[in-house]
């Protein structure tokens, strides 16, 4: 911040692209990423969803700039200030930023929402963004994005643990959509109004037992197809889960009345969320019908249930899907040491280890790891020291 031209932090590869841009924006350090799919013969360089994410970053910050090389395999990014939606500067109508995602983006909307939600608490003004266009897919996708329902039920509640009240985070799904294919892809409409900006997120201590699963919720959704698919998925999922829990409430999101006219992607899918008796311990699972079809809703329902069981079996206080969000917030939050109990199956993944190294590169302190004593060694206690990134006093990009 004091040095007008700080050195670029250098990365290679296309993995964790959004995560590195978010860390760069939060810490204010410019980055240089090279070798983005440089060995790919068919699609070298940045993918459409990554370009779209860069556009989104540009819209919610002031003073960001990026240069992309001719082949798209190298990018330099200078982060700006996270401004959020300020009327007149980016926000076009009223107080909301409109972000249109083109049809060649095949990632789900959670690809954009999860990083955006990480930036939002540190924003100067409220972070209000409306996503629209043929690239907005609210369902889960086969490329591994969670559905918007899992994001709402399993990721957003975690912000409450950091002193960021989820009551002031409003995520409304105006139009659901599935990947679809051909001309009918995406076309969902989603509004995120993130109104809880904090001076400094506090850290959290989840080092006790992860408790027991108290209830199971979720949403079965479909768009452009018969609503009976929802019932069939729910019936199959309950067939697996009824034996374990008596408190299962799976909601149904019926297909929209105007799905055909709005040209939304056809498909169906399911999101299951298990809540533990310890507040903040949430496991989630997502399945979606492949865009070429040919899958029975019954099969999807049981798959989703099995996936949820797998997540519950892994244990730990934070599931793999949410671990990156929680660990990033801990590392960016107040300068305290927070403790988090993670399953060994969660911490032993490329993504989490990659995040540890990226955070270190961005100047955050190293994690401390030790065994959790009280059980048979299935969990690891991770201590993360925050780096005190706040949203006040950041005057210079």
């Amino acid at each position: 911040m004091s040095n007008p031209n700080p050195a670029f932090l250098r990365f290679t590869g296309h993995k964790a692209f959004a995560q590195r841009l978010v860390l760069s924006t939060l810490t204010g350090r410019p980055i240089h990423i090279s070798g983005i799919r440089s060995s790919s013969p068919t699609a070298p360089g940045l993918a459409p969803h990554e370009i779209s994410f860069l556009r989104l970053l540009e819209a919610v910050t002031n003073g960001s700039s990026f240069q992309i090389s001719y082949t798209g395999t190298t990018i330099t990014y200078h982060p700006g200030l996270i401004t959020g939606a300020i009327a007149g500067a980016g926000a076009v109508e009223g107080d909301i930023i409109e972000h249109n995602i083109p049809s060649n983006c095949t990632r789900g909307i959670s690809y954009f929402l999860i990083p955006l939600a990480l930036l939002a608490p540190f924003s100067k003004a409220h972070m209000n963004v409306r996503f629209s266009g043929p690239g907005v897919i609210t369902s889960a996708t086969e490329s591994g994005d969670m559905s918007i329902d899992s994001f709402r039920l399993a990721i957003l509640p975690l912000y409450g643990l950091f002193g960021i009240p989820p009551a002031r985070i409003d995520l409304s799904i105006k139009q659901r959509s599935c990947p679809g294919r051909g001309d009918r892809k995406g076309n969902g409409i989603v509004e995120l109004r993130f109104a809880s900006q904090v001076r400094l997120p506090k850290t959290l201590h989840m080092n006790r037992s992860s408790g027991r699963v108290k209830k199971i919720g979720g949403v079965a959704y479909c768009s452009g197809v018969s609503a009976s698919n929802n019932k069939r998925m729910i019936h199959a999922a309950r067939g697996v889960l009824n034996a374990l829990s008596s408190d299962i409430k799976i909601a149904e999101a019926p297909p929209g009345r105007d799905d055909a006219r709005n040209n939304v992607g056809i498909g169906f899918g399911m999101s299951l969320v298990a809540e533990s008796s310890v507040p903040g311990v949430i496991y989630s699972a997502d399945v979606v019908a492949p865009s070429e079809g040919g899958v029975l809703p019954e099969d999807l329902g049981t798959r989703c249930a099995y996936q949820l069981l797998e997540a519950i079996d892994q244990g730990g206080c934070v599931s793999w899907a949410a671990a990156k969000t929680v660990l990033t917030l801990m590392a960016m939050g107040s300068e305290d040491v927070g403790r988090l109990r993670l399953s060994k199956a969660v911490i032993g993944t490329e993504e989490v280890v990659g995040l540890a190294r990226d955070l270190k590169t961005f100047g955050a302190s190293s994690w401390g790891l030790r065994e959790a004593e009280d059980d048979e060694g299935a969990d690891v206690l991770v201590s993360v020291k925050g780096s005190g990134v706040g949203n006040v006093g950041r005057k210079v990009a």
Partner: protein
């Protein structure tokens, strides 16, 4: 006796802590070692494949590209999962639910 004989136990937190920030190791190497993939075995393999060095490096590259990027939903083979979650496995998981018999838990 074999298990006692000099073989390190896998999945020790201290091991991961030691390797976590060692930039000489790639992430997949770190994970492999932590999961206790036998290091000697690996070295032997490399010696065997000396002639196929080119082939070996290519397949490694392909594997790296293969990995789906930035997933938030893990990728499972659902047939394996269905086989794994038989009735017995579900009963074993019951301890993680509030519907479990608490007296049993107090007993141990």
């Amino acid at each position: 006796a074999k298990s006692l004989h000099g073989k390190k136990r896998p999945y020790q937190a201290a091991d991961l802590a030691r390797m976590l920030y060692n930039d000489k190791l790639s992430i997949s190497e770190v994970l492999q070692r932590w999961k206790g993939a036998d290091e000697d075995e690996e070295e032997e393999n490399i010696e065997d494949d000396d002639e196929d060095d080119d082939f070996f490096s290519k397949s490694k590259q392909a594997r790296e590209d293969d990995g789906a990027e930035d997933r938030t939903v893990p990728d499972y083979d659902y047939q394996d999962l269905a086989a794994r979650w038989s009735d017995d496995a579900i009963e074993a998981l019951r301890a993680k639910f509030t519907s479990a018999d608490l007296l049993d838990e107090d007993g141990d």
